[in-house]
């Protein structure tokens, strides 16, 4: 069974540009979560999508947005990039049931110059 996949592996952008990150969940999983892991900090919850709807978002500005497609894959968009957006962005999926573990992808390393 294929795990969670993310693309691209690395992404380099300059300040003010827009970044688009993609995630494909495990087959059968309807929930997708996005986290930001900046150097020296823990995982910060960004967004949660389930069945195509945004269910919750963390304490991030509106320039962080995303969507979930009918096939449950998801994309995260970061507009007006700032230097502090440089981080590892992790996507996780679950089958949406309470308490179930989240399966993480390998992440996208975003560098903003």
């Amino acid at each position: 069974e294929a795990g969670v996949t993310q693309s691209p592996t690395h992404l380099i952008k300059t300040r003010g540009q827009k970044a688009t990150l993609r995630c494909s969940p495990i087959s059968g999983h309807t929930s997708v979560y996005w986290y930001q892991q900046a150097l020296g900090l823990g995982l910060q919850f960004l967004l949660w999508y389930d069945e195509g709807e945004e269910r919750n978002r963390g304490n991030f500005p509106p320039r962080f947005s995303g969507r979930q497609f009918p096939n449950y894959s998801s994309e995260l968009n970061v507009n007006a990039l700032e230097l502090e957006d440089s981080a590892l962005y992790l996507c996780a999926s679950s089958n949406g049931l309470a308490e179930n573990e989240q399966f993480f992808g390998p992440g996208t390393r975003l560098t903003v110059l």
Partner: protein, 112 residues
């Protein structure tokens, strides 16, 4: 404000010994707590879940305790091996179903 604290200093331990990690939280009433393992440059991997009404959970060489009075979870790796070297994260389920709040993690280094 809500806070999850894990030992920020790396835990260096000799092979065969038991590693004990702590996860303390404030201003939470978690329904459950999960522990994950993260290797450098990779996403976290789920290890164990413990519910608020459970005191202890075991899986192979791993043991987790959960004390909601002390607002603390302890994570034990018994008979540690060099392959156990990684960063271990605790995560709490907060008010929203499925939304996890993670601690910063504790690095464990097991030397032969």
């Amino acid at each position: 404000s809500q806070k999850i604290e894990q030992n920020s200093e790396a835990l260096n331990i000799q092979e065969g010994k038991t590693a004990t990690l702590t996860c303390n939280y404030t201003n939470y009433s978690p329904a459950y707590l999960q522990w994950y393992r993260q290797d450098p440059g990779r996403g976290p991997v789920f290890l164990l879940l413990i519910r608020e009404n459970e005191k202890e959970k075991r899986k192979e060489r791993l043991k987790v305790t959960f004390d909601t009075t002390l607002k603390q979870s302890l994570f034990h790796i018994t008979a540690s091996q060099p392959a156990d070297s990684a960063t271990y994260l605790c995560a709490l389920a907060t008010d929203s179903w499925g939304k996890l709040q993670f601690g910063a993690g504790t690095q464990v280094v097991v030397t032969p």
